[in-house]
């Protein structure tokens, strides 16, 4: 029991990193996701396939492989180390965010694509009939509807991303899981540490869940 209380401060401290990684990755991931979702619904075959394969690769391979390729794989390539790319790829923090962003971007693009595709055609025709141009239609009509549609699935993706950040511990970052593992391996009390660390994750999951519920209410018409 006292181990649980003892480890709490260290674990909470590490939670800060976990939250940072999650929020930043989701933030950038939304842009990536919307971008590829638009490409995917495009009539241009090249755009379509770029988006299709991007999604296929990043959803079809484990996040661990992705992060290892970016951090360890690219880190050993000479010309990368000498290029401007090294600014991002040198630090495990930015490598992790890059990997997480690309990953969540792929899943998000599927969610947004599906949301765009299921927008009631009638609404779009009405917009055309009213004389709204393409950009206007996109930002005033399509986007809000798509956001509302995506909320449940995106909420799920947010939780998946939160769990995904635990992989940052495999590239030297001391996030909640990394510190938990360290405590477990030095005290040999896996159950207690699991309970504390797990509870922290569950609390964050709970917050995300409720946030989505709140947003769903706000966006309903």
């Amino acid at each position: 029991m006292d181990l649980m209380l003892d480890s709490l401060p260290r674990l909470l401290n590490a939670t800060k990193l976990t939250i940072q990684l999650t929020l930043l990755s989701l933030f950038f991931g939304i842009f990536v996701g919307v971008f590829f979702a638009i490409l995917r619904t495009s009539k241009n075959r090249v755009f379509y396939f770029i988006s299709y394969y991007y999604s296929y690769i990043f959803r079809g391979t484990p996040l661990l492989v992705q992060i290892f390729i970016i951090y360890f794989g690219l880190g050993q390539v000479e010309w990368i180390r000498e290029s401007f790319l090294w600014i991002v790829l040198k630090e495990p923090y930015s490598c992790a965010i890059l990997a997480f962003t690309l990953n969540t971007g792929a899943y998000s693009s599927e969610i947004f694509r599906s949301a765009f595709e299921t927008i009631n055609k009638g609404v779009l025709e009405a917009a055309e009939g009213l004389g709204l141009n393409k950009v206007h239609t996109f930002f005033r009509i399509k986007l809000p509807i798509a956001i509302k549609q995506s909320l449940p699935a995106y909420g799920n993706e947010m939780i998946l991303m939160l769990k995904g950040t635990s992989l940052a511990s495999t590239v030297t970052l001391l996030d909640l899981t990394g510190v938990a593992k360290h405590i477990i391996s030095t005290t040999f009390r896996p159950v207690e540490v699991f309970i504390v660390a797990g509870s922290i994750y569950l609390i964050m999951t709970f917050i995300i869940h409720n946030l989505i519920k709140y947003l769903e209410k706000k966006f309903s018409y």
Binding site: F72, R81, K90, S185, F188
Partner: protein, 275 residues
Amino acid sequence: MNMIKKFSLGLLITLFLTISANADKIKIGTEGAYPPWNAKDESGKLIGFEVELANFLCIYMGADCTIVEQDWDGMIPGLIMRKYDAIMAGMSITGERMKTINFSQGYADEVASLAVMKGSSLEGMDTPEGINLSNKGGEVKKTLKTLTGILAGKTVCVQTATIHQNFLESGDVGKVNVRTYKTQDEVNLDLTAGRCDAALAAAVAFTDYAEKSGKPVVLVGPTFSGGAFGNGVGVGIRKDDTDLLNRFNKAIDMARKQGKISELAIKWFGFDASM
């Protein structure tokens, strides 16, 4: 009557099998990723100073040994979980570890050292050849102060759960940005990739890596021993296995007397690292 007979027979057979199964079979756990202490050759076979020494110790103990591979961070849990009965993995004898397991007497010692890539600004430190942290003298204090200044804010890479990590986090060299990795190999990779300003591990681990990989990794600063770096490398044994502990100690005595440890040390380290 029949049930009792069957049961007794079953019990006897089980007893017999258990006894014969335990008859002098010792499993020894090692990492296989810390040359020259323990490593793997191209075909994946475990080789190294400790692998050879283990085989000799088993001959002295008259036991049938198998050497098992285990990731470093699961090394002590593996022992406690009875995956194996002894640890011979370049594990230094430290007070912290002794809270959980017992150690035999030390059979060899390693000094630790910082390493950098050739051309690094950290080369050419004004420090003595080596310091022993168990020694609380003035020279040690002065060296630590020098190091604190040089390493302030720098990123130093180490393998996780090692004495090297403990030292860097102890505050003896002030605030250093410590990065921990699963294996020494990963430390080496990031050192050569330029992600670390320096790395800390056994001096021989770096010289071995420099030799095998051809990368310009050089040792800098003083060699470290004592204090947080423990008192030599010993065999890790479960706390309740006092019998096995005695057997290992006797075997190590014999090996030392016959010069076996020195012989193997010179073979693998290039110098006599025996204790």
